[in-house]
Amino acid sequence: MNNEEPCGKKPLSVLEKIRDNLERLNDKMEVMIELQKHSRKDTVPPLTDAPLDVMTLLSMPDHLRKTAMTICRCGRATAEEISQQTTRARAVESAYLNQLVIMGYLKKERKGRKAYFYAERETQG
């Protein structure tokens, strides 16, 4: 009994662990995106320019749809800005946004240390 953490702290440490894992996952996604950008076209299938229309949004799982809908409303935003609207953690939104980039629904642009995500104008429903 004494070796166990107090009840209130255990969920907190689990959440911290989840956050750390998400951060690591996010870093890996960043690497994947960079690799895709620079890799040869014949080795990586092109995933860019998938249109983000109503049908596509409806076919997405709830967690990604929430992020995608928010970016559609914002136009162009950082993970931090999206997280303020969805009330989910920044790391979570960052992971979802990067997933949407890999899926070809969003574009990503770096300005200094900040990464901006957006759906291309022509592809917005």
Binding site: A50, P51, D53, M55, T56, L58, E122, T123, G125
Partner: protein
Amino acid sequence: MSKIVAVHSYKGGTGKTTLITNVAALYAKNGFNVGLLDFDLYAPSLGMYFRKKPAVFLNNLLRGDLDQQNGKVDVASVVTDVSSELGLKGQLLIGFASANKEDISEIEFQHDQKWQLKAIKRFQSFKNQLFEDYDLDCLLLDTSPGIRYWSINALAMANMLFLIMKTSDMDIEGTKRMVNDIYDVLMKYGKSKHFIILNKIPDSQNAHGLWSETTELAWAEELRKDIGTQVVGSIPCFCDIQFSKHEFLYSVKNPEHPFSKKVAELANRMSALC
């Protein structure tokens, strides 16, 4: 009154077109300016219903044939005002879809999603202009049954959705699934409410053994529990309407018929909700 209203159903043959054309004509008869668009692009029927052969269709609009240099579209060429020939007080503007197989297959198969998205933008521009140029009170969209690309787009663009269904098991199960898969998601992201309209209710087929008005109320309650959506209107099955060779705005032409009275009641309820 809500600006854009879409009628939809899980299955075909539920009476969407008959009900929405009658409702549109009743609104125009009462002095409202109404737009009615045939968004059943895969099986258009308003052309046949109104016995019109227009030169320009909604398909031309979506294809970009009506694009203008100022970024707008040529609205006037795609809508036909039938109010004067029908003796209606308000305007009734109809946008027809082409029933040519080439035009249908173009929408269905020939273009990628990017083309479809451009078409959606053209439609958005069109509907905004329609409201401005014709001082519309409401725009009614008749859609294709089931989960089709343009039906879903029409639903996403509408402020108010009405699901028309019959009382068969297939209709009930399909509608239930569609409400879970599509409607609930649309509602979650800012769309206004959706309602069920029961059509062609057989008088004697009811689990409770009830009749007439009581039958309708029993069905409404049953579906509210089963599907979780409010039933706002119910129309009994009238064989003389359903099997007539060409039902044409019956509720305007024969206002004393029980069907017409039911449709008028439904039109009032719909406008009260919107």
